[in-house]
């Protein structure tokens, strides 16, 4: 009886993978506008305080930025491969790629911790007396730096949690070779976080 009910219910499960994907993209557009507003603020202030921005950006360590860029790019690779793996019905490989993605996300945060610690210990953090004694352009640059990379780091943290949930869904076969839209949508989110960083890296670390 129970089995019968279950099979009947199963056949009537409403599923709309395309709809789910459209929903995810709509959410990503709100993210784009959220960060877009900040990029707009950056552009206007850079236009007004170009010389100070050039001066301040030299205080950032390109090495940290570069390593984190490579880490995120690689995490995007393993994320994409995880989806290919589950669609080819290799669950173990998919879990491995996803675990690697989460590991790279963690590595990114560890790197960020060391980078920010170094900044804090040299007296550069929002509202520090050292920073407030600087010209206005430098204060604005570091304000944007901490808010934008901070909000991005928050997205990485949230991404880690989402990917961790996906990992257990994979493990318990909730996500499988037929039903993988959740993994795809999580991947879309993860790649967006990567794209944001692709722009943050040159704007803050490279352009002097």
């Amino acid at each position: 009886m129970n089995q019968l009910v279950e099979s009947v219910v199963h056949e009537h499960v409403h599923r709309d993978d395309v709809g789910a994907k459209i929903g995810m993209w709509l959410f990503l557009f709100t993210e784009l506008i959220l960060f877009g507003g900040m990029f707009l603020a950056y552009a206007v202030y850079r236009y007004q305080y170009g010389d100070f921005f050039a001066l301040a950006s030299k205080k950032l360590d390109v090495f940290f930025g570069l390593i984190n860029t490579l880490i995120l790019l690689t995490s995007s690779l393993t994320m994409a491969m995880s989806i290919t793996a589950i669609r080819r019905e290799s669950k173990k490989l998919s879990m491995l790629f996803l675990a690697l993605t989460i590991f790279f996300a963690l590595l990114f945060m560890v790197n960020k911790y060391f980078e920010w610690s170094a900044k804090f210990s040299s007296g550069i953090f929002p509202g520090s007396t050292e920073l407030l004694n600087q010209p206005k352009g430098i204060i604005i640059y570091f304000g944007l730096y901490f808010v934008m990379t901070g909000l991005h780091a928050l997205h990485v943290l949230i991404g880690m949690v989402i990917l961790l949930v996906m990992f257990f869904y994979l493990k318990s076969d909730v996500i499988n070779s037929d039903y993988y839209i959740m993994l795809e949508n999580s991947g879309l989110y993860w790649h967006l976080v990567d794209i944001i960083w692709i722009f943050l890296f040159p704007l803050f670390y490279l352009i002097h």
Binding site: K21, G36, A43, A80, T84, I181, L192, I195, L206
Partner: protein, 95 residues
């Protein structure tokens, strides 16, 4: 689409795109050490846009998905571009 066997991207395609992204990253770092003046902003943003495009098309599957998604994304980026350009109509005359 979700039920159908739409395109499964090969590992090798992803690895090729990743290699391109890493190459572009080292290119942008190298170029930044040269002093190109105003051009350096354009070059850096150009390379970043190219990288973002690769991620969107291949990693985010836009190339293989329904055309509707590409139009969606295009419209949202154009919207953002309009914000940027119109804002600078205000600021261009101030300095």
């Amino acid at each position: 689409m979700g039920h159908g066997k739409n395109h499964i991207v090969n590992y090798s395609t992803y690895i090729f795109v990743w290699l391109t992204l890493v190459t572009l990253t080292s290119l942008t770092v190298t170029v930044a050490s040269l002093d190109l003046g105003f051009l350096s902003v354009l070059v850096a943003l150009g390379i970043a846009s190219l990288k973002a495009l690769l991620v969107l098309l291949v990693f985010m599957h836009l190339r293989f998905d329904d055309r509707m998604f590409r139009i969606f994304v295009l419209i949202s980026f154009i919207t953002l571009l309009i914000f940027l350009v119109l804002t600078f109509f205000d600021y261009a005359n101030i300095r």
